[in-house]
Amino acid sequence: MKVFRFFRSVFLLALFMLSACSHEMPFVSQRHELAVSYNQRAQRAYQRGEYETASGLYEHALRLDSAIENVEGIALNTLNLAKVNRALGKSDVAQLYLDRLLHDRALTYPVEQMSAAAAQYGLLRLQAGDIAAANTWAEQAVAYCGSQCNQGGVIANLRANIAVQANDAERAWYWSARALSANKAEGGIEYANALRLAAQSRLLKLEAGEAVPLLEEALGIDKKQGLPEKIRMDLLLLAQAQEALGRADLAAPLRERAVRITASLTK
């Protein structure tokens, strides 16, 4: 009996090994491999806050992908370059990259990336104060996205953003609530953004008390993610909420904390 068990185990193990060996890795060219390597290094640089380095590495990756006409790689790296340039404060350069992607007549890019590009374009227009254009690009992003798309959370945040900047409290609350539900599962930056936007909509609706817990949750996430600008924003909005609630003594230290972050960023 023991012998039978032993042979059975050996047989199962051999079968398992065979199945593992039969698993074949897809062939990837040297150039593609190098482009992947540049892309991953750039991502790490971006996460460390080394935006200039990230930009250079993404450019390398984009050149390699263009050389082998890797359409998905071209779209991804162009989008990433737009994001890096936005982070660097070069909105015009970011817009140029997005233009290249959105108005390309020669290549057809995946809808997911086209939707992301349109959403990013909308964010850039909103940043420039052009609410109408931002709205148009948000619609465009939805059109690219369709029903099956991962950009739903970002687009909802964009729409909530647009409503906040337009001082439309109802719409802001509507879209931020949708953004909260769309991004809750992910629980990262976009969820924190949704929380902050929901708080802003509450502030617009003069419900400062409702805004405080939302902002405290957003602050926790942003601290965990290590995003100084977002932390500063949360603190300032919290101070604003406390002031609205007539608690100036609580607002002052929050403002002081925000100032210290600004000072550390500008050093």
Binding site: H23, L76, L79, Q120, L123, L126, G129, V154, I189
Partner: protein, 317 residues
């Protein structure tokens, strides 16, 4: 004397006379040959002509030269009915091919006071060579007399200028005399200034004496300070020496270390490079191999997360 002996004497005299006559004839022929050779009778000649306004400086037998070489001679000089002079040149046919129809015959001296020659000046254009009885253009070159005349013509205006300048210098109302007068006045003024300066220097030297005393005191103090420094310097120098020795020995050690390692460093770097490459290859292999490929993040390009938040303008830094 017997008749046969007499006849024999006459025969000997005749033979001697004949020999002398033959020798004389041979000498005559030889001399004639030499003369003929000297007169270029054995050279094939080409005769050319030129016409000169007068025969001054032209002589029969005169050398004719072409670019410094004798190529012929003046063979004949004769007066024409129109009172011009016709000169016949005999040119060595060998050189005629070098002389074009547009060549000129120029009468010139070989040096300032040398022998006169007829120089053939080659033409500027490439034309047909001169032929028998061709006529060349003639011109006279500059001799010493004409050179002196041209020199005199050039010097004359200079001499007249010099005469004018001398007159201007001598003129008491002229510019130069006025300048000299002014200079005289200036020099007398200068003399007075020098006298004043002397006085100033004397008073200055008196004041300087006081300054010297003060400087002397300061120097004394400086001397005493230097003496103190002198005393303490040897110790300092000794310490500095020791420190430098230490530094030197450390530098020597470092140099030795560098020398020892210099040969090993490139090899080490190469090996490290190879090791890193091997490591990368191995890592790549491991990443692709089961079961690690399931554990590691996929080797594919990814998008950065999109930040869907725009800071309100009133909260911007």
């Amino acid at each position: 004397m017997k008749l046969p002996d007499f006849n024999l004497g006459i025969q000997q005299t005749e033979r001697k006379t004949r020999r002398f006559m033959w020798a004389a004839f041979a000498v005559l022929v030889l001399v004639s040959g030499v003369i003929a050779f000297r007169q270029d009778y054995f050279v094939r000649n080409t005769s050319v002509y030129f016409f000169a306004p007068n025969a001054q400086g032209l002589n029969k037998g005169m050398a004719v030269k072409f670019i410094g070489f004798k190529v012929g001679s003046v063979q004949e000089i004769s007066m024409e009915s129109n009172a011009s002079v016709k000169v016949k040149l005999s040119l060595d046919s060998e050189y005629v091919r070098l002389i074009g129809q547009d060549a000129k015959a120029r009468l010139m001296k070989e040096a300032l006071v040398g022998e006169s020659v007829v120089e053939i000046i080659p033409g500027e254009r490439q034309v047909r060579q001169v032929a028998q009885n061709s006529v060349l253009e003639f011109e006279r070159g500059q001799d010493a007399g004409s050179l002196a005349e041209s020199l005199a013509a050039q010097v004359q205006p200079i001499l007249s200028d010099v005469r004018q300048i001398t007159a201007s210098i001598n003129n008491p109302r002229g510019d130069i005399q006025q300048i000299l007068k002014n200079l005289n006045q200036v020099s007398s003024g200068l003399r007075e200034t020098v006298t004043q300066l002397n006085g100033l220097a004397q008073s200055g030297s008196q004041k300087l004496d006081g300054v010297y005393v003060k400087v002397d005191r300061a120097l004394d103090k400086a001397n005493s300070s230097l003496e103190t420094l002198d005393k303490s310097l040897p110790g300092l120098v000794e310490k500095a020496d020791t420190t430098l020795n230490h530094v030197q020995s450390v530098a020597l050690d470092l140099k030795q270390m560098a020398q020892v390692s210099s040969s090993q460093v490139p090899a080490l770097l190469r090996n490290t490079n190879a090791l890193v490459e091997d490591g990368q290859e191995t890592l790549k292999g491991v990443q692709k191999a089961w079961p690690f490929n399931g554990w590691l993040p996929k080797a594919e390009e990814s998008a950065l997360p999109l930040d869907g938040y725009v800071m309100p303008p009133e909260l911007k830094r």
